[in-house]
Symmetry: C2
Subunit: 335 residues, 2 copies
């Protein structure tokens, strides 16, 4: 049976959604879920759940990382945080994967700690956060914020790691990889993009060129590569526009009795669109390049989103994605 | 009477929308509109319009810039393009403003030509493209693509120019200026943002800090400053998500007779939201820092959007925005 750690202190509303999500996951997947964090609070949440027959363990951790903690302060300042404890279990082989809805920078930093973290896969220059974009085609955007400032050769590695993730998770051979830029024509892009293009062309990846956000969303490439600053801005802009449009639609519907009736009748259609564009559906963001399965869920994750993130972690373990990335890097030593 | 040049060869569907928009503008504003481009084609379009009593002139230009032309090839390679001719009229005082829905890079390059362009305002390091974001609060994003690679001191000048634009166009004293970043906490941002923060703090602008795309859209700042690569990615992501959601909603509405009826009844509400988020409503993008009024409309502009862009150019002339920027830069020589 697989053993998956869930950081009980991760989400904005922890430990409720984190614990409930782990219970849902234990029931759906039949694996062992290990909740790490403040044991009394975890037990109190577990008492609210039906857990009979499920394999759920609790592991106490006396400290917790907050969203406003600076990652650098956390690394040595909170050595018994739920992140430290959970990631060390993966490092030591006591667990197969780690899922957290907490502070991304802290997770990355703690994962990379020499003594207690999982560290990086040999040959990896910088781990990066992939995120499945919630349009129908489900393209993968990488990096989504792990590295605000990037070098061209890092971007090529992000493309390789994401390519291998897509291949092994979705069984797609030779996935299409693109750089995300402000235009598709030659000469478009900032300095980073321009310097990365020749490296991509020589990389052996199925590099199809530069694409704009619109093409990325439509799945023109399976993988859209960008620096972590731009990637994070893309995700945040997309979320902001989607929620702005939903709010304005709800508001406009209230204008007249007829539009209100229309809104009621059309509600299933709205729900469908919102569900499709809902980050909860697609699970969490895989942290690629670290030497273990680590999934970062959204801070606003509810129980369902945590469960989905656990499902994604489980598939990464089943499909040996970490080993595939290690193997891919060993074969592409020029990257 | 003011004289405003419209590039008849600018939009994707030129010269139809460009000519029809100029006619609409001549009627609405009572100013002289000068259509520059292929005279026979312009005359043919004008023949379809009611122009009696309007002040419309045609100025022939034998060449035209396409969307795929590299700006560098255009500068000397097409010296009689509608952009060259139109911008030279502004330079020579034969016109007060230039409006084009054409290739932004070419417009910028031609505007900056030493012999025939309007050039830059004294003290301007780099002109930048402002764009009014179409949420209700109408915040101004700068730069939207004129400078894919930026230096910190350029960003501070973009903030100053946009601040003066807001003050003089909207009568807002001391508008709020923010840097757009991947988080509001200290330590967020890429290298460019981090290096720009202390300069912003020392600038004398009403700098309120870093904001995320969500806060920008809500009007937390009047001006959101970013490099042209990121700014263009933000605008393109926002457009792509808005059109994706609209398309998916239309599709979902067709699911059942009830949702279809709901969609019909709610149609006025949809229209309202789409109109609000429609770039056509807010006019074009002012090119700030050049020594003349230059407005760049969207390539997909229809006649209405061209007319709106002319209206915006007219207000810039009326409110002496170029002189205000020149004056502001002269007073902030440290920038």
């Amino acid at each position: 049976m697989m053993r998956i750690v869930v950081d009980a202190m991760g989400s904005d509303n922890h430990p409720g959604p984190d614990v409930a999500g782990a219970v849902m996951a234990a029931r759906e997947f039949g694996e062992t879920l290990i909740l790490v964090g403040d044991a009394p609070r975890i037990e109190a949440e577990l008492a609210k759940q039906q857990t009979a027959g499920l394999s759920i363990e609790v592991r106490h951790a006396s400290q917790q990382v907050t969203m406003t903690d600076a990652p650098s302060d956390v690394l040595k300042g909170k050595p018994d945080s739920s992140m430290h404890v959970g990631l060390q279990m993966v490092r030591d082989g006591a667990a197969d994967a780690f899922v957290s809805a907490g502070n991304t920078g802290a997770i990355l930093g703690i994962a990379m700690l020499r003594q207690t973290g999982v560290g990086r896969i040999a040959g990896v220059k910088r781990p990066a956060l992939g995120v499945v974009f919630p349009t129908e085609e489900r393209p993968l955007l990488i990096d989504n914020g792990a590295n605000a400032e990037c070098k061209p050769e890092w971007l090529v590695q992000f493309g390789l790691m994401a390519s291998l993730y897509i291949t092994h998770m979705l069984d797609i051979i030779n996935p299409r990889v693109a750089l995300i830029a402000n235009g598709e024509e030659e000469g478009k892009g900032n300095l980073l993009i321009k310097e990365t293009i020749p490296l991509m062309q020589a990389s052996g990846l199925n590099y199809i060129g530069n694409i704009e956000p619109k093409e990325f969303m439509r799945g023109v490439a399976h993988v859209g590569v960008t620096d972590g600053f731009t990637g994070n801005i893309i995700i945040k802009t997309a979320e902001a526009i989607a929620s702005y449009m939903s709010a304005k639609l709800r508001e406009s519907m209230k204008a007249t009795p007829l539009t209100m009736l229309g809104g009621l009748l059309a509600r299933p259609a709205f729900r469908q669109v919102r569900r499709r564009l809902d980050a909860d559906e697609v699970g969490g963001a895989p942290l690629l390049g670290v030497n273990g399965v680590v999934i970062v869920a959204h801070g606003r994750a509810n129980a369902y989103a945590i469960k989905q993130a656990v499902g994604q972690a489980r598939r990464m373990v089943q499909n040996n994605v970490v080993a595939a990335i290690a193997d891919g890097l060993a074969r592409h030593t020029e990257l």
